[in-house]
């Protein structure tokens, strides 16, 4: 049986799921709200742990997804369940009938302005991890002027009840170390500090990256959360943190502060999600049916999930989930 499958989101998860479903003989249709496929990965310069160009991965995925019906600059305006599956009305007023829906809507980066004490949007030299990636890609950011001292703050918007995000965002630790190394590459004379609470090097090669960060790049890892940032007379940043391993508060002046923003669920999909009857979990991400065996399933029949819409995930995890969701959807269609 060849069926239409509506994939909402054209990031890594959506593209990979579409690729696999097409290989399985189905007709995936990707609905992408922006004007390009690739999602957040396309905004990244290089990927941890081995500094692999993100472009290579995205290009490969774009090649794989060739032939798939992609609706760019389009959102799902309305969706209804009927006896044949789903009927979706798109923002361009076209309608699509689909047997199954895959939510691959991904994440939003935490809005760093919400952590007011870090002064993002207030102090000139506070930037986010995403902006730093842009700097790596384009070499341009007027806030980055040959900084001599650079700080990275982990867990911005994660593990923090004050912003109502108690979960760990999983990839920021490794990203911070990767970016810290890259900054040392660009500015070899700079001192680079990372302020972490725990360094969660959970994947293969990640601990090696940590070791290289320390040994080859001389990045200084300070265990302690930056608690406040101020600007001094010269417009440099004065930060305060506790060096918890030393047991003393610590104060230093930096030229650049990079905030490692956490992942939050992409909220632009809330209305459609509600219409489909998919609930959120306590972290605000989409609720999956089962942690172990139902990670692609929702409580609703025919509605599947993949990627970071259900929890913060790394790119390999996302791709693995996208592949598994293809199999799940395929079985769902054939067993009906």
């Amino acid at each position: 049986m060849k069926e239409n499958i509506l994939i909402i989101g054209g990031g890594a998860a959506g593209m990979e799921a579409a690729t696999q479903l097409q290989k399985l003989g189905q007709t995936p249709i990707i609905i992408e709200k922006s004007n390009a496929l690739g999602g957040h990965v396309a905004q990244w310069d290089r990927l941890f742990p081995a500094f692999h160009p993100a472009k290579d991965v995205v290009e490969q995925m774009l090649a794989n997804v060739k032939g798939v019906d992609v609706r760019m600059n389009t959102e799902v305006a309305d969706i209804q369940r009927n006896e044949n599956g789903f009927k979706a009305v798109l923002s361009d007023n076209t309608t699509i009938d689909a047997k199954a829906v895959v939510l691959a809507t991904g994440f939003d980066l935490f809005n760093a302005e919400r952590k007011q004490e870090y002064g993002y949007g207030i102090y000139n030299n506070v930037i986010t991890s995403l902006e730093l990636e842009k700097f790596f890609r384009t070499g341009k950011d007027e806030r980055i002027n040959n900084p001599k001292k650079i700080g990275f703050v982990h867990c911005v918007g994660a593990r923090d009840v004050k912003v109502c995000n108690t979960y760990c965002s999983k990839v920021c630790c490794t990203t911070a170390l990767k970016q810290a190394c890259e900054m040392k590459e660009v500015f070899p004379d700079a001192e680079v500090y990372t302020f972490y609470m725990d360094l969660r090097m959970f994947g293969p090669g990640y601990e090696d990256l940590y070791l290289r960060t320390q040994k080859d790049f001389d990045v200084k890892c300070v265990r302690g959360r930056v608690c406040e940032v101020s600007e001094d007379m010269d417009g440099r940043l004065v930060i305060k943190a506790e060096d918890t391993l030393f047991g003393k508060p610590l104060k230093m002046t930096l030229d650049l502060l990079v905030l490692m923003c956490s992942m939050e669920k992409n909220k632009s999909i809330d209305a459609i999600q509600q219409k489909l009857g998919v609930a959120n979990n306590s972290d605000g991400f989409m609720q999956i049916k089962d942690t172990y065996l139902g990670m692609n399933d929702t409580a609703k029949d025919g509605v599947f999930v993949a990627g970071t819409c259900t929890a913060p995930k790394s790119l390999p995890d996302t791709i693995a989930e996208a592949r598994s969701v293809a199999v799940e959807v395929f079985n769902y269609i054939n067993n009906r």
């Binding site: 040994k215 265990r223 391993l245 003393k248 230093m252």
Partner: protein, 103 residues
């Protein structure tokens, strides 16, 4: 005038003015010191630490936070038995570093 109280020194480590000469020169000869992950194995196994506050992990931090004298004072407790080096998960040649600090 005696007010019966006085200014107390700041407990902040002022990283801007910390003198890292010793640590940096130590790093030249022992690049390993950067790789400490503060697991505390060295402290837990330390023969002198059994009787005193001796902790290599803290000594490394002291050097990086401008408390060189404090570090050297702590090193005095060391018996050079080398257990710390044996247990270090990062393979840091701790005993050598302790000796080099006092060079």
């Amino acid at each position: 005038m005696d007010f019966g109280f006085c200014l107390s020194p700041s407990s902040h480590v002022k990283m801007d003015s910390v003198d890292l000469t010793t640590f940096n020169s130590l790093k030249e000869t022992n690049p390993d010191i950067n790789t400490c992950i503060a697991c505390g194995s060295c402290t837990a196994t330390c023969t002198a630490g059994n009787f005193t506050e001796m902790s290599f992990r803290r000594i490394l931090l002291m050097l990086q936070r401008g408390k060189e004298e404090q570090a050297k004072k702590m090193i005095q407790k060391c018996m050079l038995c080398g257990k710390c080096t044996l247990v270090c998960p990062r393979g840091i040649n701790i005993r050598k570093i302790l000796l080099d600090i006092t060079r």
